[in-house]
Every structure is written in C-alpha cells, then in structure tokens.
Symmetry: D2
C-alpha cells in the first residue's frame, strides 16, 4: 500500500508536533508544512537544516523568508495539491477558510480543537469513536483537555460502564514561551459548565457530564480531577486495573517522586523526548479514592503533545488505513513508541 501523503497547516506549538509525529509513521509521508511568518519555530526549522519542506500560506511575504535564507518549497496550494490529507493546526478560524481549498482539491483534513464543530463531519477521538471517523472527509479533534479526559473516561466506560462524570479542570494558562497571554498570581474562573464536559457528551452521548474550569498561572500541564459514577460501583482497584491496561495512560505516584505537572515535564525531558514532550496522560495512583459509590481520580494533561496520537488516529480512520479502533490506535502507538515502557 502506498504511503499516505500528509501536509501540516500551521507550524506552531501543535503543528510542529503533528509534523514530528507524522514523520515517525512508517506508513505515512510528511510532504511539508505551511506557515505565514518566519516565526521562531520556522527559524529553528532552518537552523536544524530544514528536515521538513516549507510552503507559504496566502498573505505570506516571501521576501522575509528570503532575507533569512529560509528555503521555500511552494505555496499552500502547492502543498495541498500533493497530499491525501491535511492536518490543520492553523490559528482558530483559519482552518474553516482553508477548508474551501481542501474541498476544491478533494483533500481530506483533520482540524484541531480551536475550530468550530461545524467545520467537520465528525467530532473525533481515536479511542472513543474511531469508527465514526472511518472514511470521513473532515474530522475535528477534541481539544487537549477533552482528549486526555476522554481517554480515562472511555477506559472506565468500556471496562465497567459510566453514567456520569463531574470534572474540575485546573488549567495551565499558557505554554512555555507564550508571551501573548498569561496570568500573574491569580486563579481565574470560567462560567460553568466547562466546554470540555459538554464536548465529552458529544463524543460519549450516553454519559452525563458537567464541570468547572479554573485557570492557574503555570505552563507545564493541566490537572483534571474526575468524579465518575459507574453503572455499578467501581472500586479503586477496579479503576486502577483498567487504567493500567491503557497504552496512552501512564500510572505514576507521588511516592515515586511525581509531585505534580512539573515533575512530568522534567521526566519527559530526562527521557530525552524531543522538546520534553509526552504523548501519554499521567494518572496518579495515589489520587484514586472512592466517594460512596463513585470513583475519584486525577490526571495530568501535557497540553502541547497530548492530541498528536489521536490526530494521527484520525488520519488512519479517515483514510481507512486501519478499519478498527484497535488496529488504528495500535499502529499509531507503535510508531510513536507509546506504551513501550509498560
């Protein structure tokens, strides 16, 4: 079978990681990435020797790239014309505009969570509804928090059945290096219910979900607490067993030294992962407690990289590379090295 040809629109925090992830898939070919400006990320690409071809989106000023001796391989339209599917991680709203070109060229696309749901035929999560994405032309991925949250809820749901969840999202407010937003010595509320709870219900319509989100002035990962009500009582041990079997959930503990989101960031750096990224969510074994018949636990969401595996699952589903959830996610995991450590 020929390799799936993939392009990436937007070479920012997510786009870079999508490109790196696709480049690792032996059954895919990364044709190139597209962006507008010679950002620091593009300058770093240049300094690395242009491992990926760069295409310029509409409105880009090529002379700015020429001044910096950054090689340009063509226009955005050139890129779209050479691929089977686009991963679109453009700034919110731009993806909807890009879609016109994708439709015109007959190219599929996976959009990130910043776009409106209406941009896509299917709101997608690799583990929770892979089948819905099969053969679809336009998928929209769940956002970072929702992606990680659903991994854990879907995991319990498939094992024991889940009726409802109430979540508290302790959200990191910006990524390392972000200067365009921030919060200083403040926690910030968002009107409840949080969109992540609402989105979970779209993907898992048989589950009732609500939640409260609080922004915190940190950069290295969101933490979510989940109170889950099972169809029958789920004990701490039952929950832990299910979580341990999930390739994209890493069980950690305070006792081992994983004191919080920053420990996980450091650990991923020490592992030598590029950029200190981690594809797995972490779940604290010593956070699991029973609340009457309910189960409560806490997870860590590495916001910069957590959606990469499910995005690649999306390619597999849309292009029918694998026909089942089990095969699709397993292929992604193998090429990304997920679960190797288990």
């Amino acid at each position: 079978m020929a390799k799936i040809k993939v392009g990436v629109a937007g070479y920012g925090t997510i786009g870079q990681r999508l490109a790196d992830g696709v480049a690792l898939q032996e059954d895919m070919e990364l044709v190139g990435v597209a962006d507008l400006m010679p950002t620091l990320s593009i300058r770093a690409l240049k300094e690395k020797g242009m491992p990926y071809s760069l295409f310029l989106v509409d409105g880009a000023d090529k002379s700015k790239f020429d001044e910096l001796d950054i090689p340009v391989s063509g226009t955005f339209e050139d890129l779209v014309g050479r691929v089977d599917i686009m991963l679109d991680s453009s700034p919110g709203g731009v993806g909807a505009k890009n879609k016109e070109l994708y439709v015109k060229k007959g190219v599929k696309a996976v959009f990130q969570g910043g776009e409106k749901d209406s941009v896509a035929d299917v709101f997608f999560h690799g583990y929770a509804n892979y089948e819905k994405g099969l053969g679809a032309d336009y998928l929209k991925l769940t956002s970072c928090n929702t992606t990680g949250l659903i991994r854990s809820v879907d995991c319990l749901d498939r094992a024991y059945g889940i009726e409802k969840v109430a979540i508290t999202i302790i959200r990191r407010v910006s990524d390392p290096g972000d200067y365009h937003r921030g919060l200083t010595n403040a926690l910030q509320m968002e009107k409840a219910p949080s969109h992540q709870a609402v989105d979970l219900m779209t993907i898992m319509p048989h589950v009732d979900a609500t939640g409260i989100l609080v922004h915190t002035p940190v950069t290295h990962g969101h933490i979510i607490t989940v109170v889950a009500t099972g169809k029958k009582k789920i004990t701490g041990e039952m929950a832990l067993n299910a979580f341990k079997a999930h390739p994209r959930i890493r069980i950690v503990s305070i006792a081992e030294g994983f004191l919080g989101n920053a420990s996980l960031f450091r650990y991923a750096r020490d592992l030598g992962n590029p950029r200190g990224d981690m594809y797995e969510i972490a779940l604290w074994e010593d956070s699991i407690v029973e609340s009457g018949g309910d189960i409560m636990y806490a997870i860590n969401i590495p916001q910069e990289s957590v959606t990469i595996p499910e995005s690649i699952d999306g390619i597999r589903a849309a292009c029918r590379v694998q026909q089942t959830r089990e095969e699709g996610t397993a292929a992604t995991n193998k090429y990304l090295g997920i679960g190797k450590w288990k």
Copy 2:
C-alpha cells in the same frame, strides 16, 4: 455581664487578625498579644503606636525589643494570668506546649488548625457544631479550607440534607509576603483523600466526604469545587437560595467582574477592609451546575481571615456567652460587620 478577657498567642498572619477581630467585639476585651521575636508584624504594631499590649513568650530575648523601643507589658505567663480564654495561633505544635500553662492557670483556649486534634476536647466550627463547644475548655478550630468548605456544606445540609461530597481543593501555596515556602510554575499533588474531606467528616459525621488537593503558585485565596449529593435532588436554584441566606457566604459572579481569587482580594482592598481581608467566603453564582442528581459549585477561601469569625464563635461557645448557634454566630457577625452589605 463582664467582658470576656481574651489573649492571643502568636502575632503572625492569623494572630494579628484574631486580635483585630476580638478588639471589635464589644463584649470582649483584648488583654494583649504574645510573640517571640520582633518580626515585621511586631515592628508594624510598634509603628502603629502599640494599639495592643505585647507580652513575650518563653525564650524571647527582651533586649532585642528594647533596642527597637518596643514596649513590653510582661511575660506570656502574665498574659495568661489576666485572661479568661486564649486564642492560640502559635506555630504548629507550640500550642500543645502552651496548653500546659493554660491548664495550670485554669484558662480556656481555642487552638488553630495547625495543632493536632488531641490538643482539644472539641473540634469546632461555629455554624456546624456550636453546641458541642458550649462550656468546653479546649477547642480546636477547623483549618481555613475546612472552615469555608463546611460553611457551604452545612448550609446545604441544614436546608436540604447532604449525603456525600467530593471536593477538589485548588490551594494557594503561600500568603502574600511569605518567603519561607513557595512554588514556581508548578502544580503539586497531595495524596488523596485530602485532610479537609476527612476533617469535614469529623465535624459532620453523617456526611461521606472525599477529595483531592492540588497546590497552585498563587497567594490570594483557595478555590474549592464541591460535588454534593443531597438526600433528595438539589437544583441549582435551591442551592443558590440557601447560599444567599447565609451571612458568611457572599454570592458573586464572573459577569459582575469577580474573575477569580485575585478579584476578591482587590475588592476587599477597595472596600477599605484592613489589610484587604474578607471574612466571608465567596460563592460564584455562575459556577453552580447540576450533575445528574448532584449539585456542583465553586467557592473562594480568603485563607488569612476566614477562620476569624468561627474562632470568635469558639470564645462565645466555650465561655457560654451565647447558648445557641444562632445567637452566638449572630453576635460575632454583628461586631465584625458581616452581612451588613446583604
């Protein structure tokens, strides 16, 4: 009736506020405060002209106070000998040692949350178990988070009956001006269940409680989310009505501009409250959501000042100034100006 004579041990973050609170009670007399070192707080007391008499605890070096022209009114034993009851906000563990003197002198005491439960006869909360404190010699107050949390849970419980709660504590890690502890760009987990949930069950033994606590690098107030299961379904409207009637709960909303804990700190400063303190917890109206049969909401805990009213309630109960919860808390509220704004 003669005024109750009160002393304060430990003139730190809590001790200063206890002293200020007692000084406002027209049926109490603040005899003095005791401390060990000429800290910044003691220097500020001096600069203000010594509104409170200062006594020195064992081990204090009086010459250090003399050098700074700080007047000293006597020893800790002198202070204890002149009061009916001590509010002990010494560093954790010191209160237990102080108790020996209180017992010897036949003086009652209210300890703060940093002491072990065994220091006291009654683990006390003004609204939840005032009656248990009546006539008791040694009370220990709930900690700041537990005090504020119980206000809200007790409020719902008295109105509608509560079976269980699952809480997430988004904890501020230090107070403004703290340099002896801190957290930088990190969220920190604590082993579940959090002690606040356990403590709630001690005060309200008919309620099942569990919870997860996460430290965050901020100073202006903890935020707690609560998932509460009623004996019957509690709607958002029912919950709001109960909360609105509670004198020590202030209903706020994001829409008004109360975006988080820092808005509340600023508001209390703008109110002209000494030190920008607030005695009420805040409860976000736009955080209240229903989760199946459960109710979920978020509260803000002004950690420096929230325990002051319940500590003064403790004096009222221990000294039998008022015989009932309603009368005791009402007297405290009146003198502290709580609920005036309602």
Copy 3:
C-alpha cells in the same frame, strides 16, 4: 484661603488612591470622582456608602448604575464645572480628550504617566522640579517607576551632584486583581533604553541616564537597581545619609526581615494602611555598594500608590498653594502622614 476644589477622572487603581489622598488634605476638597462603568471599584464605593460623589463620563449608561442602586451626582461636565483642578487618571489617551473640556471650562489638570507628554505644559515631579509647575495649567506626572527613581537620584544629586545613572528595572507586570494582562513563568525584555531613563533626563536634563527594563511575573512592586556616577565619589555612607533624610524614602534591610517587594506589601497591610498601600519607596540599606567611584543601590516602587504624593504636590504647584518645593512637599507629607515614622 478657600480650599482647592479637586475632581478625579477615572476611578481605577490610581484614581481611587488619588481620591483617598486628596480627601486627606485639609486644604483641599474632593468634589467627586468620575467613571464610565459600574466596575468592582465603583461597586466597592457603593458598598462603603458612597464616601465620594460619583459623576458619569460621556458614554456611560446610567441605567446600569441605577440597577445597582448606585447614586449618581451628575455628569462629567458637572464635575469639571465645580472644581479648580482635575486629577486625570483616565485610561491612556482619554486624558487628552478630557483636556478639551478642561480648557473650555478654564480648569487646570494633572495628568498621569499614561498620557503623552504633549498633553501638558510641564512634565512634573514634586521633588525634582516643583518650581516648573508653579502656576502651570497642565502638568503631566512622571510614571510610577520614574517617580520613585527620581526621588532617589534627585536626593543624591542635591546632596552631592550626579552626572549619570544606569538603571535596571525589574518590573512587576500587573497589579493585584489584574486579569487583562499577565506573564507566566517568563521574564520579558523591552528594547533599551527604557523610557524611565529617558524621562529622567527630561526632568533632570543635567544627568545622563540609560537603562534596561525586564518584566517579571509578580504584582507587589517594582525593584530598580541604580548605578550612579557622582560629580565626586559618593561613598556608601554618604549615600545612606542622604537617603535617610528624605521623607519619601524608607530605609529598610534584609536583616530586619524586608526580604523583597512582598515583605513591603505585607508590612503596609500590617500597618493598617488602606489597601496595604505605601507612599514611600523603600531603599535597602544592605544593597548599597560602591563600584569604583560609582555608587549602586536598590529601591522598591509600590506602583499603585507611589505617584499619589507627587500628584498632590502637582496641585499645590499648579494652584500656587505653596510657592516652594520645600513647603509644597512638606504640606503633602503632613496630610498623608509621610515620614511620621522617622
């Protein structure tokens, strides 16, 4: 002599403190304050019982105030019509527009640092160039950092003569309660030279100044280090003696417990200062070091309140209440309680 009638435009962080400061001047009358929206600060004014009359600027929707039972005393034009001088702390740029009305009504004004220099006849600092403000119609005050910096440089200059300064501003990025800007785990550079150095040269044209500014994610005060070159060598002791004699400079030390900007904020709260404000800059005695012939030291700038005294000096100069720098600043200091503690 009749009291000077003063109005305040913009009841935000600075405006509230200007109003409080004017209200303390026994030879001035605060006629009222003006704002656009029922912000939290206005709600707090209401909750305090409207100690100041409120006027609405153009574009305000009075019905929003009516809904909240906030009494309104008239329009902005009404306010301007009743005063001798306006303190304008409107958002940057609005002051220039307001000036049209001031001119029309023949009312003087003192603008804050956010306005362009061209709005005013004189760029003003109470200690450095009081005489230039005498009888002027429109003054613009130096910004918070520049105001505090100039206090210290002017102090050394008058005592010993200063030729040049090189400053490093470690800037707090937002005020407590600010949610519209912030920085998370990042230091941020600004293009050198910093405007504060440039502004210093405008006020003190015989001094050569340059500097670098770095934003830091904190809220409780800027810290500035100054390397100053005297006309002759200034020793550490000489510098300390001059600083000690300045009413608006408070000498502190790490040894006493003043570990940084947050200690000063806490100290001002413990002093019972409204909002925990402080009018003085702090200067660390144990930061003073000699660098060859130069002198180096560090100061703390309480950004929310530091410009209040110099703003009131501006009223005194513009309205010729006092004819000299010594008398003008002394009157302001007396009514604000500055230097009482010395």
Copy 4:
C-alpha cells in the same frame, strides 16, 4: 592518544547534562555515573535502556534499585577506580567528602560551583583562565551565572580592556520540576555585593566588580544586566562585534521574537536540543546601550546547561588534552555542536 576516561558523580540536573556532554566528546569515554537514590532521573535512565552505567555511592540501598530492575554496575569506588577524572556534581559539600577518595585513587576532578573554593587548586573558567587549569588536579568551576557572565566580560576584556563592571542579576529561583524550593509572587533581595561579582574578581583579578542579585519566580534562565567600564570607551557597535565573534554567545533580538528567557527555552526545544537545553548564553542586540563612557547590555543564562562546556574545558586543561585556551575550547565546541549555527 587514548580516550580520557570520565566519571560523573551525582546524576541530577547538572550531572545528567555533564554525562550527555562527555558522551559527545569523541576523545573521551564516559565510564559511568553515580548516585544515591532511584530518583526520577535514574528512573528515566532505566526507561531509556541504561545508555550509561550506574554506580552506587556510599549509603545507597541497592535493594531499592533491584526492586525497580535498575541494573547497577558497581560501587562509587569501582567507578573512581576506572577513570582518569571525575566530574563531581554531587549536592553541595558532598564533593569535598568525595575528594578524599579521588586523592586516594590518584584521580583528578572538576567540581561544580556548589562546593567551597577550598576543595580545588584552581577556580576555573574555560575562556578566562584555561591556562591556570593546565595539569591541575582539582578544579572548581564557576557557578552558572558567573560562567555566563564571565564569557561576556572576558570577551570585551580581551577585545578592548575592561576596568570595572556593575551587574544586576535577575535570577530564576528554581529549575523546571523543582519542588523543594520556590517563590510565589515575590521578588527576593540578596545582600550585596552578589557572590557572582566577587567570583568574577577571583577569576579576573584586574577587573573591579560589584552587583545586586534579585530572585524572581521563574524557571527558564537568569537574565543579567551588565554596566561595563572599558579602559577606553567601548561603543555599542564595538561591543556587538566582539560578542558576535564569541562561539558561546548567541546574538538575539526582541525584534526577531526573542522576548525573554522563555522564548529561548522554547527555541531550544524547537531546535530539538535534548531537554530543550542550550549551551550558549544569549545576548540581546537591542539591549546594548551606551551610558556615558560605559557600555550596558543584557544576557540570558540557561542555568541547567551553561556550565557544561566550561566543565569539559576543565577536563581538557586538567588532563592536558589541549595546551591552549583556543585549542581546548575549540575541541569542546566542536563536539558539542556549539557555534555551528553561526
């Protein structure tokens, strides 16, 4: 010539990076690393497949490593017995104790900045005093701030002659993942002069130096401002030209997007550098300003990795691998890939 055999004591933040750096030197062999506990860094080493052999220091409990299936290659004494030189990055004070074994075994060592100066024969910096290290048995490296600072001052000094510097260190308070120390919403002063200025004078005794250090609540790099007085006037252009020629100084600008320390951390991550580390200091072109006859500029110190090159220079000097500063630093740079991008 046989490869220099190197061991690393202490596999923490610095030790890991020393090991990685040595492993890249084609004329050196990393024999192994030693530590006490199965920390997260050791667990990551295990998860990576043990690229480095692990030895256990005295007091280590081997059973704890066995439980985790972490292979152990021997004792600390075994490691020291197999090497020519140790890089000692043990916790402060432990290096002095380790030295007894090094002396006994006739093994040279390079200590990090946490040890007392007395542990070593030479206080060393690869660029500033390579010759002093030639053939020495025990070197102590300058600390991270001092190492980076000296790069820039030595650079100007060799080009134009420097008489004196006055520095302001805006210090990051902890590393990413540190939970044992931190600062929250506070700047913290240290008694002046800072040790970095004093240390600079030890390494460069012909330069007069002083400085003030302020801790800030961030993790991604210190920023230092330097006011330098040349033997003759150094213009901005002269300074920039000298800096541009230095292999371990990277010229950046705000205009390009390098807004602060967090931009540099992000850039190093985007470059794919392991852990997002960077060996170069950054120097902001748009921070260079003239102050009378002086020159002022700002640099960024990547605290986790900046001392690695100079530590390896130390091996080269101590073992006389290269006889001159130029050859020694050039070899280190070549193997670490420093300056490739210039």
